[in-house]
Symmetry: C2
Subunit: 325 residues, 2 copies
DNA sequence: CTGAAAGCGCTTACAG
DNA sequence: CTGAAAGCGCTTACAG
């Protein structure tokens, strides 16, 4: 079945394509007779006409799309919420958000060329050549960064996450700290930042360097790690995130010990399960709403040609003290 | 800065736009002299040329995009994995997957018109008019459904999820069952199916109808629900999903009772936290990999004009028996 | 108030 | 082996 074009609508309603375009885009509204307008609208509906965005984009040189490029690992609840919020925020500005999962085998270039977005928001680092090529094509390129980076429009200070964990643990009297690393290699970038924050804060406070153990998401792995920490004199563990923290809690139990008496545990993210574990997990929460609004504001500013307002970066993080530490 | 076009490349390398197109698309490869080819490639690189997909799509009438439309609530780990896998699977066929979160305020029509995808995969029901309009525009429309639906390319049998939960609970001797409903209204569609499966299986086995309680993701709410179940004589609870199940476990603890001795609990999804809770959660796992491959196959088949092969639908579900029931 | 015409950037028969 | 030309569907000055 052939595509219905504006020419078909023009023919059907007995006017020119110009008039069809004017009516359908509400342009020069008053200058089209009500009668003509009716006729065009009716014809369009009858024919089931829908304009080709490819043609429209080609003509006008811009689309209404914002492309979010995600890292190649599973999103997780925080980023998930950020994307939902962002979609809502940008919809107010007539912009549609599209998300690409993982950079996969296909080069990023093919993707942004294929959608010609107004802006690309990177939740993962992409190459300088990619960024340059996009800018050359008139696309706004925004970066969300893992940490304080002057070029980033928004940064969750990952080192600060680690710092906050240590602060709480130290304030509650612990001096021998452990750090629970995730096994998934794709998390390495994040893990590194958080760990370096933990290290730095330990050093600043004159504590011993944290004892790092890999912790897989099962009881056996966690139990082994806890045994190792115990024999190193560790009394409190900061975990990469809540899931890992939950594993550590299970490991402590697996050793016949208890949280926080024998080993205190602190996570990151404040996932729903954190509230529900026994004991409830003390954790560093990230405010997804604040992140989403900051990014939305930055995107809007970039599109308006205005400089991005620097958001208060620290505000995103909040320590939630519960039973585990 | 003006866009670099193929005409610029042609000028720079002293050939026609035709030749540029042939070289860049590896068309008629052998028929272009190696020398010319070099020159064009060099010029393109020097100028930083990247073809306009809008023009290309307009010309050829097709893009390489597959659009996935998600429901307007947070994705969750299973769908998340499905999307990652799908992206990988379809990349092999030169297709890029784009995801739209939530249907939001902007009409779906604007979105698919703006990207002119080859196929749209709906993980949420969309209106018949939308579907028709897309088909008219030559887009393959695929539906993932909540349950057995002959028009859907893939269905996770949600009623079967409930059935499996009841089967296990009944087999382990329980006759008075409870069902833990999620509070989030946007989950209603899913919840309804799962509950109806639970109801049906209870009826089939001659058990009393399940006692339904709303359970929010906090201890207080869950504790109240558990109290209500206890006074109704319930000894086992099937939960909407693992998160709700974890809440129920916390609620049982909140009542000073124990799992599974006083109340058995079974969830759905097999999230990582399920393995780590105390006791570990018995749950109905959904195999995201199987789902992703089935959908990828269906998309590929639709694009080839072949009828979608009906996947074995039951295979996706697997009962994982652990400590909680 | 409405129409004829140009042009966005690309690809692909069709000629050489 | 390479080029001139048409056309994908749309919008928008520019004429009437």
């Amino acid at each position: 079945m052939p595509r219905v074009t504006s020419a078909d609508v023009a023919l059907e309603s007995g006017v020119s394509r110009t008039t069809v375009s004017y009516v359908l885009n509400d342009k020069h509204g008053a200058m089209i007779s009500a009668d003509t307008r009716e006729r065009v609208l009716a014809a369009a509906a009858r024919l089931g006409y829908s304009p080709s965005a490819a043609a429209r984009t080609l003509r006008s040189g811009r689309s209404d799309l914002v492309l979010c490029v995600l890292p190649n690992w599973t999103v997780g609840p925080v980023l998930d919420t950020v994307l939902d919020e962002l979609t809502r925020e940008l919809a107010d500005r007539q912009l549609s958000v599209l998300v690409h999962h993982g950079r996969g085998p296909r080069p990023l270039a093919e993707l942004w060329r294929a959608v010609t977005p107004r802006a690309v928001v990177g939740f993962t680092e992409f190459g300088a050549e990619d960024a340059d090529a996009m800018r050359r094509a008139g696309i706004q390129v925004l970066n969300t960064s893992l940490d304080e980076d002057p070029r980033a429009v928004f940064a969750v200070p990952q080192t600060r996450v680690g710092q906050l964990q240590v602060r709480h643990l130290a304030d509650t009297g612990h001096v021998h700290l452990g750090w629970a690393a995730p096994v998934e290699p794709r998390l390495a970038d994040f893990a590194e930042r958080r760990l370096s924050g933990v290290r730095a804060e330990c050093a600043r406070r004159g504590l011993a360097a944290p004892v790092v153990q890999d912790v897989d998401l099962d009881v056996a792995s966690a139990t082994a790690a806890v045994r190792a920490w115990r024999s190193a004199g560790v009394t409190a563990v900061a975990a990469y995130n809540d899931e890992v923290a939950l594993a550590v809690v299970a490991g402590v139990r697996g050793c016949g010990l208890s949280v926080p008496g024998d080993v205190a545990v602190i996570g990151v993210d404040d996932v729903p399960a954190a509230r529900l574990s026994d004991p409830a997990l003390t954790t560093v929460a990230q405010d997804a709403g604040v992140q989403a609004r900051a990014i939305a504001t930055a995107v809007a500013a970039a599109l308006d040609g205005a400089p991005a307002p620097a958001p208060e970066r620290a505000e995103v993080l909040r320590l939630g003290v519960r039973g585990s530490a």
